[in-house]
Symmetry: C2
Subunit: 498 residues, 2 copies
C-alpha cells in the first residue's frame, strides 16, 4: 500500500468493472499533489491546515462544508451522491412548478480540497482511517435507489483524517411492511422526485387511452401518500395543484377519477402544529377534495400490472392506486449501526441512543463513548477528533427532532468552532433556535407555526416561498427559483414528461 496525502489504495475486493483493467501495481495519480505525510500520522497539510473529513452531503454535511473557511481547514467531503438536496422544494419539482435542478446544489461547486463520491464503509478511529467504496455508478440511474447501495460494487480506497465529522443522516424506515421497499416511491432525493413525476403524468396518459376502462382509470388515478408529516402533506398539496390547475385543462374528462389520499397511523396529521392550524389544514384539504385517513395502517402492498394494491388493516378489500408515496419513518444508516458495534481500544463503544439507535453526542457535537460493562450510566468520554451532527445523532440532555433546521444549525455551530479553532473549548455548547414549522397546503395557502404564534392562508404561503428562497444555498438557485415561479405563474406548470 502506498500512502500519500491521506489517500491509500487498497486491493479491490468487489468485481467492479473498472478494477479489472487496473494494473497490479498501484501508482499515485499525477493529479493528487504529493504532500509530505508519514504512514503513521494523520495528514495535516504543510500549510498547517488540518484535514477535516465530512461524511455526508445533506443538511448537516453540506452546510458544514460551506461554513468552514478554506483558509482554516482542508475540507474533504465524502458522499455517495454528488449533490445536496434542498428537500423543502422537492415536492414542487415533482409537479413541475420548479425544474429538478432548482432543488439541488452540486457539491463540486463548493471548491473543496477533496470530494470523493463514495460510501464510507468502515472507520478505524485508532489510525484515523476511513475506508471508502466509490459510488460513481449511481447518478446515471436517477432512481429511488440512488442513495442506497446498489448491486455494483465500486473500487475501494482509504483516506485519513485529522478531524472527522459524521453527518450521514438516516434512511427511510419501511417498518418491514411487505412490498413498501419494492413498490412505494420515496421522496428524499431528486431522482425520487423525477420517478414520482413520471409516474403521475404517465398515469394520466395511460388513463386517457381508449383501451383503458373506467375501473382502471379510477385505480390509476388514485394517488396514495403514507405519512401525514409536512413532506406527505406538502406533496399531496402540490399534486392537488397540478391536477386541478393544469391537468384539468388537458384531461378534463379524467377529473372524476382522480383521488389523492393521505394515510397516517396516528389520530392526527401535522403533529408539530397547533390544533387551530391543523384544523385549518384539514378543512382546506377537505374543500380541495384531498382525503386524509388517520388511524389507518397499511399492512402490505402488491403490484398487479401497473396498479398497486394496498391492504389496509381492518378493511376487507384491497385499495387500488397508481402511485404510493412513502413519507414516514427514519432508520439508522448501516454505517452508524456498524460503528456502534465497534470496540474502540481504551474507550469502549460509542454510546447508542436507546430510542433512535443513533450516535450520542455532547453539547459540543463530540461523539461520546462508554466503557463496556458499566451500565447505562457509566462515565462517558468523547472520542478524540470525532464529531457527529444531524439526523444520525442525538444530543445528550437536549433531544432535538431529526429536522433540516436542527442539522443545519448544528453544522453552522460546528463550522464556526472549526473556523475559530475552539472546537474543544469548555465554553457554552450548541443551542437550538426554533425557526418554527411551515407546511404548504395547496391553492396558494400554507400554515406557519412559530412558538405560540400561528399564521395561515395566503400570507403564510408568501412567507413559505420567501423563507425557502432565502434559505436556498446558491445565488444560481436564488435567481433560478423566482424565474421559474414567474414562468409557472405565466404559463402554468411544466407538463413535459421529463
Amino acid at each position: 500500500m502506498n500512502r500519500l496525502n491521506g489517500i491509500t489504495r487498497i486491493p479491490v475486493r468487489g468485481a467492479a468493472a473498472l478494477s479489472r483493467t487496473r494494473p497490479a501495481v498501484a501508482v499515485l495519480p499525477t493529479y493528487v499533489r504529493a504532500l509530505s505525510t508519514t504512514a503513521a500520522s494523520p495528514t495535516t497539510k504543510p500549510d498547517g491546515r488540518e484535514r477535516v473529513v465530512i461524511l455526508g452531503s445533506g443538511w448537516a454535511g453540506y452546510a458544514l462544508a460551506q461554513t468552514i473557511k478554506p483558509s482554516k481547514a482542508s475540507r474533504v467531503l465524502i458522499s455517495p451522491r454528488s449533490h445536496f438536496v434542498f428537500t423543502p422544494l422537492l415536492a414542487s419539482t415533482t409537479v413541475g412548478t420548479l425544474e429538478f435542478r432548482a432543488s439541488i446544489e452540486p457539491v463540486r461547486r463548493l471548491g473543496l480540497d477533496e470530494f470523493h463520491q463514495a460510501w464510507a464503509s468502515d472507520i478505524d478511529f485508532a489510525s484515523k482511517t476511513i475506508r471508502l467504496e466509490a459510488n460513481t455508478m449511481s447518478d446515471t440511474a436517477g432512481t429511488k435507489t440512488s442513495t442506497l447501495k446498489g448491486p455494483v460494487k465500486g473500487p475501494e480506497f482509504d483516506i485519513t483524517y485529522d478531524k472527522l465529522v459524521i453527518a450521514v443522516g438516516c434512511y427511510s424506515q419501511t417498518f418491514g411492511i411487505e412490498g413498501v421497499a419494492q413498490h412505494a416511491n420515496f421522496l428524499r432525493d431528486v431522482g425520487d422526485a423525477r420517478d414520482i413525476r413520471l409516474k403521475v403524468l404517465t398515469a394520466f396518459e395511460r388513463a386517457d387511452l381508449p383501451s383503458t376502462t373506467d375501473a382502471q382509470r379510477r385505480e390509476l388515478l388514485s394517488f396514495a401518500i403514507v405519512g401525514g408529516g409536512p413532506t406527505g402533506i406538502e406533496f399531496a398539496a402540490e399534486l392537488h395543484d397540478l391536477v386541478h390547475e393544469d391537468l384539468a385543462k388537458l384531461y378534463p374528462a379524467l377529473m372524476p377519477f382522480v383521488q389523492v389520499t393521505v394515510y397516517d397511523i396516528a389520530p392526527k396529521v401535522l403533529p408539530m402544529f397547533d390544533q387551530a392550524l391543523a384544523t385549518y389544514a384539514m378543512d382546506l384539504f377537505h374543500r380541495q377534495g384531498i382525503q386524509v385517513k388517520t388511524e389507518h395502517s397499511l399492512q402490505a402492498i402488491r403490484r398487479e400490472g401497473d396498479i398497486l394494491k394496498l391492504r389496509i388493516k381492518g378493511q376487507a378489500d384491497e385499495v387500488g392506486a397508481g402511485l404510493l408515496v412513502w413519507s414516514t419513518g427514519l432508520t439508522q444508516n448501516p454505517l452508524v449501526a456498524k460503528l456502534l458495534e465497534q470496540d474502540i481500544p481504551g474507550l469502549g463503544r460509542i454510546v447508542k441512543d436507546a430510542r433512535s439507535g443513533g450516535i450520542t453526542t455532547d453539547g459540543h457535537m463530540r461523539v461520546l463513548t462508554r466503557q463496556g460493562g458499566r451500565g447505562e450510566d457509566g462515565p462517558r468520554a468523547p472520542l478524540p477528533d470525532v464529531y457527529a451532527i444531524g439526523d444520525c445523532t442525538v444530543q445528550e440532555e437536549h433531544r432535538l427532532p431529526a429536522t433540516a433546521q436542527v442539522a443545519s444549525q448544528q453544522a453552522t455551530w460546528l463550522g464556526k468552532r472549526i473556523n475559530k479553532g475552539d472546537l474543544d473549548a469548555a465554553g457554552e455548547g450548541f443551542k437550538f433556535r426554533d425557526w418554527g414549522a411551515m407546511a404548504y397546503l395547496g391553492s396558494k395557502r400554507a400554515i406557519h407555526q412559530n412558538g405560540a404564534d400561528g399564521l395561515k392562508g395566503w400570507p403564510a404561503w408568501i412567507l413559505w416561498r420567501t423563507a425557502y428562497l432565502t434559505k436556498s444555498m446558491s445565488w444560481r438557485n436564488k435567481l433560478k427559483i423566482p424565474a421559474q415561479w414567474l414562468i409557472t405563474a405565466l404559463f402554468g406548470r411544466d407538463i413535459s414528461r421529463f
Copy 2:
C-alpha cells in the same frame, strides 16, 4: 368490436400489464364524447370538420398540428412520444447550457382534439383505419430507446381518419456495425441528451477517484463522435465548451487526459458548407484541441467494464473511449417499410424511393402509388386522402434533404392547404425556400451559410442563438431559453449530475 368517434377497441394480443385486468366486454370510456358515426364511413364530426390524423410529433407532424386551425379540422395526433424535440438545442442540454425541458414541447399543450401516445402499427387504406399500440410505458425510462419499440407491448386499438398525414420520420442507421446499437449513444431525443450528459459527468467523477489509474483516465475521458454533420460537430463543440469553461475549474488535474475526437468516413466534414467555412471550422477545432479524423471507418465497438473499445479500419490497436455519440445515417421507420410492401386494391403499391427507401409524394405531398408489373415508369396515382411529409418522404422531381427545415416548411404548406380547404387543388405545389445552414463550433463561434453568402465567428454565433430562439415553438420556451442563457453566462453551466 364497438366503434364510436373513430375509435375501435380490439382484443389485445400482447401481454400488456394493463390488459390483464380489463373486463371482457369493452365499454366506451365516458370521457370520449359519443358522436354519430357509422362503422362503414369515416368519422367526420357533426360540426362538419374533417378528422385529420397526423402520425408523428417531430418537425413535420408537430408543426402541422400547430398550423392547422382547430376550426378547420379535428386534429388527431399519434406519436410514441409525448413531446416535440427542438433538435438544434439538444446538444446544449447535454452540457447544461440549457435545461432539458427547454428543448421540448409537450404535445398536449397544443389543445388537440385527440392525442394518443402510441405507435401506428398498421394502416388499412381501404377502410381508413389505423391500428395503434399504446406506448405509455416508455417516457419513464428516459433512455435512448424511448423512440424505439420496447419489449413491453401496450394495449391496441383502432382509429379512423378522413385525411391521414404520415410524418413518422426516420430511425438512426447503424449500418450493421457491431456494437453500435448496444453501446453508442444517439442524440435524437431529450432522453438521449440526458444519458449523454450523465455519462460525461460521471466519467469525470470516476476519473477523479484515487483508485483510477492514468491509463484509465485517458480512456474514460476520451469522447468519440461518429459523424461530421452539424449534429456531431455541434455536440463536439458544446462538449469542448463544457470541459474547458466549466469542468476545467472543478477538475483541473484531469485536463491533460481529455480528448474529443470526431470520426467521419468521408474526406470532409460539414459537407453542406462552402470550403472557406469548413476550413474555418476545422482551424477552430484544431485550435480548440478537438481532433477531426476524416476517412476513418469504425468497424466495431465492444465494452470492457466502463470503457468502450473502438476498432477503426486499418488500425492495429483498439481505441478506448468513455462515450461514443453516433450521429450519422438515417434508415426508414418500420411502419414505412411495411406500408411500401402493402397491396392497395385498385392502386397497386406506394412508390418506394429507390435511394432512401422512403415514400414518394407529388408536389402536393400526396402519397403516390403505382400498379404492379408496369416497371419504374408506370403511371402513378395519388392514394386518396393520404399525405406524407418530412424525413420519411421523397418528393418526385424535387429531391430535398432530410432536414428540419424541409419538414417544417412542408408541414406549414400542407397545414395552410388544409385550413383553406384547397388540398387537392391543381395550383402550384410546395416550394422549398432554403434558409441556409448553421453550425455552432465552440468558444462562441459559429458558421452560417446562406446560398453563396457565408458568415463566421462571433456574429454567426449571435445569429445562431437569435435564429433558434425565434424558431422555438412556445412562448414559455422563448422566455425560458434566454433566462437560462443569462444564468449560464453569470454562473457557468449547470454541472448537476441530473
